[in-house]
Symmetry: C2
Subunit: 176 residues, 2 copies
């Protein structure tokens, strides 16, 4: 659909208020059971870098901010400058770890994709979806949907250690 | 915490594989009951712009991609170019609307913040958190937590039409 009719869909404010300039869709927060397993998955499998960690000792949880970018030299060294920097970036992932959950065998979080539904997935786009999926297979990453499954052959879904779905696709059309 | 110890936390792969270069944390998907209400909220209150809409008629759902940026001239006009562009951006919001849910009085999605928990929130950072919260109050936006509530006086949470929590904070430290 062209942009003009998108801006005229029911409900859409065609011209955002100037007051919203400078607003940034900064991050998405998910709770994770085993922070080491999640840090392994998001850094090793997907290439994220942790840039901030903050522990709330009384409430017994710790938060982690992760960014996905290859240019690590852009990340400020100074702690205060780095926090201010990351809060101005789009596309940050926040992991919340409630202390001790990894020691409870029956503990698990809810992916949002069975009842009660709500949140659906995160999506990581990749330069080459076939190469990425072959790499995930080689790394033993569980799939919710392989490229060959179902009707949408250009999209895969992998699962993180908590079972959250991560959509994998490439921006450029697939060669036929 | 300085960057070096962050990169040495248990589980962290200090140097991401070259294979992950070009991976982009592109979007977060949430399901919404009433798409017109959600488009109103995300465009009018938060300043998002819808840049892609795709209907899956047989499965009776439609997806919308929204971006939050003031420089609309950066958005390609051509449909195919715009889709490829948005899939290469970080910080995109995907809304999934299952047709007809807005006509079911008892239908509602799950925010992830009561049992069973999982997904926590989206976060929009703003240049001035006091000005932004005053604006949300004036617009009648419901709050989960006002700045004055609780111990963290620099953070607020508003709620979208489905009750998903949206954290509001400013990157720069608050003047004391």
């Amino acid at each position: 659909m062209p942009l003009a009719p998108l801006l005229n869909l029911p409900g859409v404010t065609a011209e955002p208020e100037a007051a919203t300039h400078g607003y940034v869709f900064n991050h998405t927060m998910i709770r994770v059971k085993d922070i080491a397993a999640s840090l392994d998955f998001y850094t090793r499998v997907l290439g994220f870098t942790p840039v901030h960690r903050q522990e709330f000792a009384e409430a017994a949880f710790t938060i982690y901010y992760l960014v996905l970018r290859a240019d690590r030299e852009a990340i400020p060294e100074d702690d205060a400058a780095r926090l201010q920097w990351v809060l101005g970036q789009p596309g940050v992932l926040e992991l919340t770890y409630n202390h001790g959950t990894e020691q409870q065998p029956d503990f698990h979080y809810h992916s949002g994709n069975s009842e009660p539904r709500g949140f659906g997935h995160l999506c990581v786009t990749v330069p080459d979806v076939h190469a990425a999926c072959a790499r995930f297979e080689a790394l033993g990453v569980p799939f919710q949907k392989r490229l060959a499954d179902g009707r949408m052959k250009h999209i895969a879904f992998i699962k993180d250690p908590d079972g959250y779905w991560i959509e994998i696709l490439q921006p450029a059309p697939l060669a036929v």
